[in-house]
């Protein structure tokens, strides 16, 4: 029977369901979000359908005064900049820790490689919320870190660690660090160690070998890793919600607020579009970078 169905029909039957589910429940909602972001907002925070308005985007930078004039308001700009800054910081810390770890993994025996890859992958599949919660136990005023420090006599008063930008940066790094290690490892894994040894034989110093041989090989992995850490950090919701406080709000939380306490759908939608745009810019940068490095190695 299937033999008599045309190619197009088989395609529609097999690929159709996946396309339909993602099309209807992801793509259409995203398009709706774009539309809502340019709609007017009624007094209860809902949408005035059909009334085109740029108010939601203006709100990112301006505030409406009582006399309807616009005044500059940097509160939201600050949250957006903070999100970018914290994500950047997370990416840099992840790279500094992740690169040597990946190099270590790549220079082990095959058996150890398999074990290490498993150990790096494992945390990704455990509950993000629970893993971030674990940091509350460490960072609290009477948590493990403060407890240990005062037991050692280093501090007498607990350090304020939780609900700070530092706590959010620690949490974000903790959440996404494996994403940095794995791609770098993947690009170094097939590296021929004889290449490095011959560099040494030719009197190259360690620094030179690292700069001229290992890092160029790792570049595709480094670029991929940076994207895989930066993008989810930028849109993080759980970590700043649990480890941050009112002064460490990120874009994700600001979006969430517009659908809860603040209730302003068009503004929430506009922020969602902004976040998507930032993600797109990062991905385009990645594609360009990859193209460039691909061209150089050939």
């Amino acid at each position: 029977m299937a033999g008599r169905l045309s190619r197009t029909k088989i395609r529609a039957l097999l690929i159709g369901p996946a396309a339909a589910v993602i099309g209807i429940f992801v793509v259409i909602p995203l398009m709706l979000m774009a539309w809502i972001s340019i709609q007017g907002r009624d007094y209860s925070g809902g949408v005035i359908w059909g009334e085109l308005s740029g108010e939601a985007y203006l709100r990112m930078i301006f505030e409406r005064e009582l006399d309807d004039s616009l005044a500059v308001n940097f509160n939201y700009v600050l949250i957006i900049l903070r999100s970018v800054w914290l994500s950047f910081l997370t990416t840099v810390i992840s790279l500094l820790v992740g690169f040597p770890t990946a190099l270590f993994m790549a220079t082990r025996t095959p058996k150890w490689k398999a074990i290490l890859v498993f150990m790096v992958t494992l945390p990704f599949w455990t509950n993000l919320l629970v893993r971030n919660y674990a940091w509350i136990l460490l960072l609290r005023d009477h948590g493990a870190i403060n407890g240990t420090l005062s037991w050692l006599g280093i501090i007498s008063e607990p350090l304020p660690l939780l609900h700070t930008q530092l706590a959010v940066a620690i949490g974000l790094t903790y959440s996404f660090l494996p994403f940095m290690v794995l791609p770098i490892y993947a690009s170094l894994e097939k590296m021929d160690l004889r290449l490095v040894e011959s560099a040494f034989d030719l009197y190259a110093t360690r620094l030179m070998t690292l700069r001229r041989i290992i890092i160029p090989l790792a570049v595709p992995g480094i670029v991929a890793g940076c994207i895989l850490v930066f993008v989810p950090s930028l849109g993080a919701y759980v970590t700043p919600e649990l480890l941050g406080g009112g002064k460490t709000l990120m874009i994700g939380n600001l979006i969430g607020l517009q659908f809860g306490a603040a209730r302003n759908w068009p503004f929430g939608a506009a922020l969602g579009i902004l976040l998507l745009a930032l993600v797109m810019i990062s991905l385009t940068f990645y594609a360009l970078k990859l193209k460039n490095t691909g061209g150089n190695t050939q």
């Binding site: 369901p17 909602p29 995203l30 509950n127 460490l138």
Partner: protein
């Protein structure tokens, strides 16, 4: 590692490398270990160790809200991962043999739910359902979970298909097996470890989800992560440590199972 001498030319040894690796693993695993240790702590203050006890686990298992939340989590994860796996398998099987215009667009579409930060599709779908007048609850959560589970199931299945010898299916059709028969007798049995591996991963992802469930849930769709979040927001109790530890152990065993299933195939 074999030569312990300080040989400048050892390509396997780099200064600081071991330190960074040790830091990495301590950073990633220590909080988990501390959380699990504290879940067995008899004391109420949560962070000071007094003596070993199973009390918090007993309390957790006697808490009706926790049992209900666990039930919801399992129900959502089971329905979402099974449905997503069936849909993903169909698409992956066709994508491996078909060439058509827009194939790359379709690949991008499938990966979309994991390309964008979760909060964006979550609130977008919330507006979508609300605009249609759909009441939020178990149904809306399950639909959204199916959508983001598809890529997690699709990718491992696709990877298995890439590694499969196309001549096996050709041989079956040469021996007059219909395409449907060839699929069920040849492709599916070979693909099964990949499918199961994808399904377990989708199951874990659904079970652990917070953001989508938080925004698309309503009365009666409280899952374990939502329940834990509520408790953490109001104040840390040792019960949270117990449920959290159980969730961690469940994920760890499931992912080990999934990797084991995936690994078996790659040995061939």
């Amino acid at each position: 590692m074999s030569n312990g001498t300080k040989h400048v030319g050892n390509a396997r040894h780099w200064p600081g490398m071991l330190l960074a690796t040790a830091f990495f693993f301590a950073y990633v695993y220590l909080p988990i270990v501390i959380l699990i240790a504290l879940s067995f702590n008899e004391n109420r203050t949560v962070t000071v160790w007094t003596s070993f006890s199973f009390d918090w686990y007993k309390m957790a298992f006697q808490n009706r809200d926790i049992i209900n939340a666990a039930g919801n989590s399992l129900l959502i994860a089971t329905v979402a991962s099974t449905t997503a796996t069936v849909i993903a398998t169909l698409a992956a099987v066709r994508m491996s043999v078909d060439n058509f215009r827009g194939k790359t667009v379709f690949s991008g579409l499938i990966a979309l739910p994991i390309t964008v930060p979760e909060i964006v599709p979550a609130v977008a779908t919330l507006m979508f359902f609300a605009s249609l007048g759909v009441t939020l609850g178990l149904g809306t959560v399950i639909i959204a979970h199916i959508a983001f589970c598809i890529p997690f199931a699709y990718l491992p299945i696709r990877a298995r298909l890439e590694g499969m010898d196309p001549r096996l299916v050709e041989a079956a059709t040469d021996l007059y097996a219909s395409p449907v028969k060839a699929f069920f007798k040849v492709t599916l049995p070979l693909l099964l470890p990949g499918i199961l591996s994808g399904m377990v991963l989708a199951f874990i992802i659904s079970l652990d989800d917070f953001v989508t469930t938080f925004f698309l849930g309503g009365a009666g769709s409280t899952t374990l992560p939502i329940y834990i979040f509520g408790l953490v927001k109001t104040g840390v109790t040792p019960e949270v440590n117990a449920i959290s530890s159980l969730m961690l152990l469940l994920s760890i065993s499931l992912v080990s199972l999934s990797l084991f299933l995936g690994r078996d195939q790659s040995r061939k």
